[in-house]
């Protein structure tokens, strides 16, 4: 009986956990300042380790910007990202080149009901702008109950 309760609790709790991605306690300050200025300091679990390695190897051409960091910070951030990377296993990444969180299967599945016109909304501008809709994104809370833009909260 106890085990049944526990399983039931787990089943109820799991979806909630899936929307909670707080930054790990050992997040280095360099990750927050260097990677969190132009976009949210993304939770490292959103990409696999191989994808993070590719991101870190091409920082001089980071999408359209030069996001180079010094050698010490690069090592510190890389170690942190790979330690907390998502478990993508050995499956080939769907994140593209350069890897984009918004192209990962999880992101696509979670956002498949969002119409194109919302992505174009000037308040949102880009799929990189998590905080535009997810009010508590900086705290790692991505629950669909916390969507900031009322017309998106359906």
């Amino acid at each position: 009986m106890k085990r049944l309760c526990l399983s039931a609790l787990l089943i109820v709790a799991l979806p909630a956990f899936a929307d909670r991605l707080p930054l790990p306690a050992d997040t280095p300050a360099s990750f927050k300042t260097e990677c969190g200025s132009c976009h949210l300091a993304y939770p490292p679990a959103l990409l696999g380790a191989a994808d993070w390695r590719r991101v870190m190897a091409t920082l001089d051409k980071h999408f359209t910007s030069d996001a180079t960091v010094d050698a010490v910070q690069k090592q510190e951030i890389s170690t942190f990202l790979e330690k907390h990377a998502g478990k993508s296993g050995t499956a080939p990444s769907l994140a593209g080149e350069p890897p984009r969180i918004s192209k990962t299967a999880r992101f696509v599945r979670k956002h498949d009901e969002i119409p194109a016109r919302f992505w174009r909304d000037p308040r949102i501008k880009s799929a990189a702008n998590c905080e535009a809709c997810h009010t508590h994104a900086t705290a790692g809370r991505f629950s669909e109950h916390d969507i900031a833009i009322p017309e998106l909260r359906e």
């Binding site: 132009c38 976009h39 949210l40 999408f63 359209t64 910007s65 030069d66 996001a67 308040r123 949102i124 501008k125 880009s126 990189a128 702008n129 905080e131 535009a132």
Partner: protein, 134 residues
């Protein structure tokens, strides 16, 4: 004792980092004066620079592309959409208080928007404008 030394060290390092916009402007002005005798920072020139369209970058032709044409207002990153706190010191007291941070962002943004490194004189003017604008 150990804790006390640590505290002293911490305070010393904080004092080394925290500067006022005036000190940062003066450092850039001194550097500029070394290249151009009698240089004085000008908020007016800084404003003109802030509003100039450099057209080196489709998405970010000018400083105003992300920071809006009113530095007292919050801006928005032209590509990612992330909110950017105001540049003007009168609206955001944290601005121009950490020389390393100021130099890092002049480095990145001048390269990306102006298409080259900014001169010490341009930086001094820019800091002067951002310190005075209301």
């Amino acid at each position: 004792m150990k804790a006390l030394s640590a505290l002293c060290l911490l305070l010393a390092s904080l004092a080394a980092q925290a500067e006022t916009p005036q000190q940062i402007r003066q450092a850039y002005s001194a550097e500029a004066a070394g290249q151009q005798a009698g240089f004085t920072a000008s908020a007016k020139r800084g404003e003109a620079f802030f509003r100039q369209r450099f057209n080196q970058n489709d998405k970010m032709p000018a400083c105003t592309s992300c920071h809006t044409d009113q530095p007292v207002n919050a801006g928005q990153h032209a590509i990612t959409g992330k909110a950017i706190r105001p540049l003007a010191v009168s609206a955001n007291a944290e601005r121009f208080s950490d020389p390393a941070k100021v130099e890092k962002w002049f480095g990145r943004n001048c390269k990306e928007v102006v298409g080259r490194a900014c001169t010490p004189g341009e930086k001094a003017d820019f800091v002067a404008y951002m310190s005075e604008v209301r």
